[in-house]
């Protein structure tokens, strides 16, 4: 076998795998989205974006991402800085903090439902302490903000660790000498964080943000468990079109809209956190 073809032969299996399991289904979904049975059409897109629930679910999805992601960035940075400064017990703390990652998102949703529902922990605690007379139903359409906060909390609890592990690895890569130099040249701990950690963490930070933002647009199970139909998001609409209304074309169209939004934000994040030309980080 000639050495010239060897690299291509070696990447053939993974290329085939990607084509069969990713590219082909993707083409099918695109095909489904752009047709209603007779040729190319945008009807599916007009259909879903014209529906009264579309703007609400788009707004909800964006609001949730806007509320959850910044909190998670700050929390993950804080936690990563803490962990990387620990001399003892570092791994244990990291393991404990990443436990939520091992729980399925539906299970995470159910855990937080168990806290917020009428017979849940929060109600029992509040009535036990005498703050309220009798358990109240918090997760109703009269309390949209409580529903929103409960979902946001569940999301923060569930998915901060995914940023944390990326940032911990990133911080570990920054040589200690940079911090020592910054200290000697008069940078306070806060300045060291702002002027050394953050800029040198840019590659990890953009990876973590991209993953997290994409996940935020795909939020579904947690919302479904806590909010049910009270809090429609893009993904739950996709689910409804596919399995309740049995309209595969519309479901595919929403899926592609989610993809477009994700790509848009990914490009934005990569641009925003771009390392200046020539700088090697």
């Amino acid at each position: 076998m000639s050495a010239r073809y060897l690299p291509y032969i070696l990447i053939l299996p993974v290329t085939l795998f990607l084509c069969i399991f990713f590219l082909y289904p993707f083409v099918l979904v695109a095909q489904q989205a752009f047709s209603t049975g007779n040729g190319f059409t945008l009807d599916n897109f007009r259909n879903v974006t014209g529906h009264w629930k579309f703007p609400i679910s788009l707004k909800n999805t964006l609001l949730l991402a806007a509320a959850v992601v910044p909190v998670q960035v700050v929390l993950a940075l804080l936690m990563a800085t803490m962990v990387s400064r620990m001399k003892k017990g570092r791994d244990m703390v990291l393991y404990i903090w990443t436990i939520p990652l091992g729980i399925s998102d539906l299970a995470a949703g159910i855990i937080w439902l168990a806290i917020f529902e009428q017979s849940g922990f929060l109600n029992s605690m509040l009535s036990g302490l005498g703050v309220i007379d009798k358990p109240a139903n918090l997760l109703t359409y009269q309390n949209p903000w409580i529903v929103f906060v409960a979902i946001a909390l569940a999301e923060i609890w569930r998915a901060t660790a995914i940023m944390l592990v990326i940032l911990v690895a990133g911080i570990g890569l920054i040589p200690r000498e940079y911090y020592e130099a910054a200290e000697v040249f008069g940078a306070s701990p806060w300045k060291r964080f702002m002027r050394i950690t953050l800029p040198l963490l840019r590659p990890s930070l953009s990876t973590a943000l991209v993953i997290r933002v994409i996940l935020a647009f795909e939020v579904f199970a947690v919302v479904q468990a806590i909010g049910g139909t009270l809090f429609p998001v893009l993904m739950s609409e996709t689910f409804n079109y596919q399995f309740e209304l049995l309209n595969g074309g519309a479901a595919a169209a929403i899926a592609l809209i989610i993809l477009a939004i994700s790509i848009g934000f990914t490009v934005m994040i990569l641009r925003l956190l771009r390392v200046p030309k020539g700088a090697t980080i």
Binding site: E177, E180, A181, A182, V184, G186, P199, A279, T280, I281
Partner: protein, 346 residues
Amino acid sequence: MAEIQIKNVAKQFGEYQALHDINLTIADQEFMVLLGASGCGKSTLLRIICGLETATTGEVWIGGRRVDHLAPKDRGISMVFQNYAVFPHLTVFENIGFGLRMQKMSNDEVKRRVERTATLMHIEQLLQRYSGELSGGQRQRVAVARALAMEPDVILMDEPLSNLDALLRMEMRAELKGVLAESKTTAIYVTHDQVEAMSMADRISVMHEGKIVQAASPIEVYRNPAAEFVASFIGNPPMNFLNATPAGDGKWSVAGNVVDGPRANGPLQFAIRPEDMQLSDAGLTATAKVVEPLGAHLLVTCELDGKMFRAVLDSDLTVNPGDALTLAPQADRVRWFDPGTTLAVA
């Protein structure tokens, strides 16, 4: 004025005693080199002076002010790191100006100082580059410029030349010495390279196992080593040692010869530098084992009294392995050491 005083400084890492009761005074504008093998505590001492490490006991004074409880930035020091620590996300300009910006200096003043030090280090054309676009030598210059831009009382350097290739190291050595002398700062320079130490220092502190064995001028350290360790550590090839037994009345028997020496109770170690011997009719008789013509001179490794014994001879001589050489030590260059305490005996 920035005299540095280190008083009874000791450092313990858990069970390990890295520094034992260090006392050292470095005069204003002096160039002091801390020299020693790796693990001797020289970097630890530097980091204690700098404030990146805290001494277990003892005091550090800079310019008449006790500083060991102060943060590094309040000690009037700046530092050049072994791996330069030139920030990769900042341009050369911002790297040199980093400390000045931290002091909230005005833009004009930052610009003036950065440009002045950059010119001094011959990197004024690199100011807009990033560290990744620089060679090792250029990065080194940026690190020095950054330290000088602070106009510190004391500049600390931790093996700053160890990552450069031999030729560049020699060039930077001379340049650094000139720049520092001109800047009139007190300098402490850590190295394991004795040539660097000899060529740059006003004074060398030779460190061994967490102690300062000798602190003296380069030539003093070379000519009159205070201990066997200094004698064997400094000089390439190192000093030769032979066992000496008392032959009465200040005379000593060394490898079958009787030599004048100190009045002491024996036995002692007789020591002589390889270049302080000449071929002669009378003297120590050694058998040549390896002959290395080095151009400038001839390095002959002999066997004498069952020990390795080196002589640096004139390069015009012809010596072959197996030849019997009679080597006459230059009397005023002979040194004596007590094998018990390993210290020099006068």
